[in-house]
Amino acid sequence: MKMLELDKDVVEISSKYGKSKDHLLRILQDLVAKKGYLTEKIVRDLAKDMNISPNEVYSVATFYSFIKTKPTGKYVIRICQTISCDLAGKEEIIKALEKELRIKCGQTTDDMLFTLETTNCMGMCDQGPAMLVNDEVYTKMDSIKAIELIREYKTK
């Protein structure tokens, strides 16, 4: 029997929510915020700690697009791709950021700093184009503002 020690962050975060299944989503989100993405070890440790099947944990995790199970950058840039932001010019921003970060949408920079993604309607349609960097929301973007913003994050 492998008796590896459980990941400290996993135990800390799951304890904060009382290790109960109804908080699984929140626990997973906090773990993603802390660790960037879920590894096999994190999933197995969490499962052990919460006494649920690791398959269940992974099944739940992969249902939700904000819970990452693949290597992801420190900053996840999500650009709203839904119609109002599309009308407002989201395509330009994506192109500008792809160029700035030298990655395609859906990819992560080599230094693991940024992941560039699109996401569905963010509820900012009156102020589009809108984007999220992790949990922070930015509205009325254009390519110049977007690039400036990313450069700021780079130096953070």
């Binding site: 029997m1 096999e40 197995r44 052990k48 099947s53 398959n55 099944s59 697009s65």
Partner: protein
């Protein structure tokens, strides 16, 4: 009376009125009245999931079609199951599934026994208007006893449901969302890196060929075709009660003699019966139980009780993963298959004068976990791999067909001597409660010198399909050497399916169980409902197979394991005594704790 009237509803289906029961679904009502509604995700053993939408019907007053499997009937409901709209919808759903179902029927194990294929034929699907994807997207892992081909998966989720609802294992789950949903393990890992117990219940629930057993027929044919090999086969008790189903015979038909004939015609050199080692198991396990009881009651020493049976390899896998702390309670007896394997390459080889290295030992099992068991490192006690190849009931049926044999036309023949001789007690190993009944028949007589106090030796309290059953038997007037058991109330419990086993184990773990002996079978119904048995399965089918098994027992001349003359000879010639040195070397083993998750 009045409540009966009250809870009766009048429901119209296709213009005809029916008496419906409150709380039943449209599908249930229709089925009871022989109105056919096609289903895919629905299964008699599982909760309704309402995923496939094949079963939709028109209900007057409803804006959209209703899934009949999940919609309860209501008073004066007006239902139509065969309108153009319903038909067109079903056709479209089949087409949608076919468009993403990659694989050729001709090369599929489930060809001619596939629910998707049947429905496509029934609904006259002549083309898939969306085109049919030809590109394989999934790699198929053929190492493990259960083989998953997700390209053939239609996401009905019956497999994940049986794994969770009936087995409580959750080895496979739906992963991802939407169009990316597929069934699998975390991070796409193979089954053997999860807690999969290889019971194969998922295979029996799969409507298509997405889940199958790892094939052993090719290797077995190769051995048979090799003149330097001496190929010995053993067949488990549950096979004879189900094999005929593979030949389109309704469940419940016994084909013991025909099966023996077929095995000989296929070309096995010797055809033995696992029932022989089932009897042997009773002697070994009964002795072990009595020894444990004696230690506990007379010597007052620490000994793990209750003792658990150990003949179900799915159960062994389960306890290793989930209750490793209770492993000391597990009987050290190997399963009858493995006892057999160890004896073939030692006792039988000596007797027959064959070099064990030229023996290929094949077993026919109702079980996919037996494939896993045969591959265990613990199972080389003969100095060789004790059981070389394990065939499921389905695979044996395929071999019989490949050999051009019409099973149902065969004359009966007998198993070969000496390891083909068995008793009724061994046959009932195939049904849940059977090991317990066999053990009680022998142990009681051993202790008291009298037959069990049940009419016709039928110990009814331990029979049946209730998930957990308990029984007790008070011992009076034992023989002098067992006087410590005088007045003792021996308590036993039986569980089949792993969620039920879990309930019992939790009680044991909490110290709340007062049993002495617990029988656990991983599969619902016991081996007769094993993951290697003919498809489909249902409570009704398993009931019929159980009847066949008990009828076979009733018809046997010998009904008690300790009466098996060949087993007696085995002890005289080879093993010397139950639980003796040789037994421990060949017939007993120990299992190791594994990671729970």
């Amino acid at each position: 009376m009045q409540t009966a009237v009250e809870s009766k509803l009048t429901v119209s289906i296709n213009g005809k009125e029916f008496d419906a029961r409150k709380g039943e679904t449209i599908l249930q009502l229709a089925k009871r009245n022989d109105i056919n509604i096609p289903t895919l995700c629905n299964h008699a053993d599982l909760c309704e999931s309402g995923n496939c939408r094949m079963c939709v019907v028109e209900v007057e007053g409803q804006r959209v079609l209703q899934a009949s499997c999940t919609t309860p009937v209501a008073e004066r409901m007006v239902i139509r199951t065969n309108t153009r709209k319903v038909r067109k919808t079903r056709q479209m759903i089949i087409e949608l599934l076919l468009a993403e179902h990659v694989g050729d029927c001709q090369t599929c194990k489930r060809n001619t026994n596939c629910e998707l294929q049947d429905l496509a034929a029934e609904y006259g699907i002549e083309e898939v208007r969306f085109g049919k994807s030809q590109e394989k997207r999934y790699e198929v892992d053929t190492r493990t006893p259960i083989v998953r081909d997700n390209d053939k998966c239609i996401l009905c989720r019956r497999c994940t449901q049986v794994c969770e609802e009936i087995q409580g294992v959750e080895a496979i789950k739906p992963m991802g969302r939407g169009k990316d949903t597929d069934i699998g393990c975390l991070f796409g890992l193979p089954l053997d890196e999860t807690t999969c117990v290889f019971c194969g219940q998922c295979i029996n629930r799969c409507p298509t060929g997405a889940l199958t057993e790892r094939d052993a027929t090719k290797e077995v044919w190769k051995a048979i075709d090799d003149p330097t090999k001496h190929v010995v086969v053993q067949t488990a008790p549950a096979i004879r009660a189900a094999l005929a189903e593979e030949f389109d015979i309704p469940p419940g038909e016994r084909v013991t003699g025909k099966m023996a004939s077929a095995l000989k015609m296929i070309g096995f050199d010797t055809v033995f019966d696992t029932d022989f080692t089932a009897d042997l198991t009773i002697i070994e396990e009964g002795t072990e139980l009595l020894t444990r009881l004696k230690k506990a009651l007379v010597e007052k020493s620490q000994v793990a009780l209750p003792m658990f049976t150990s003949c179900s390899p799915g159960w062994i896998n389960y306890i290793e993963h989930y209750y490793p702390d209770l492993l000391p309670n597990l009987s050290t007896c190997k399963s009858p298959q493995q006892m057999f394997g160890a004896l073939i390459k030692t006792y039988y080889a000596q007797k027959k004068g064959v070099d064990p290295k030229n023996i290929v030992s094949v077993s026919v099992m109702p079980c996919t976990a037996k494939k896993f068991e045969a591959d265990r490192p613990e199972m080389y006690d003969s100095g060789y791999k004790d059981v070389d190849h394990v065939l499921t009931t389905r695979e044996l049926a395929r071999m019989i067909k490949q050999a051009g044999i019409d099973l149902m036309d065969l004359q009966d023949s007998e198993f070969d001597d000496p390891m083909g001789i068995s008793t009724g007690a061994a046959v009932i190993f195939g049904a849940t409660g059977g090991v317990m009944e066999a053990a009680i028949r022998t142990a009681y007589e051993l202790v008291t010198g009298r037959e069990v106090p049940f009419a016709n030796l039928d110990i009814r309290p331990v029979r049946g399909m209730e998930g957990i059953r308990e029984a007790s038997l008070t011992i009076t007037d034992p023989l002098p050497e067992w006087s410590f058991l005088n007045g003792a109330e021996v308590k036993v419990a039986i569980a089949h399916s792993l969620t039920k086993a879990r309930m019992l184990m939790d009680k044991v773990r909490a110290g709340e169980a007062t049993y002495h002996f617990i029988e656990v079978m991983a599969c619902p119904g016991g081996c007769l409902g094993g993951g290697g048995q003919p498809i489909p399965t249902s409570p009704e089918i398993r009931e019929k197979r159980a009847q066949a098994i008990y009828t076979e027992d009733g018809a046997m001349k010998l009904r008690k394991s300790h009466e098996n003359p060949a087993v007696k000879v085995l002890y005289e010639e080879f093993l010397k005594e139950p639980n003796g040195h040789k037994s421990h070397e060949l017939l007993h083993t120990k299992y190791t704790p594994k990671d729970t998750w």
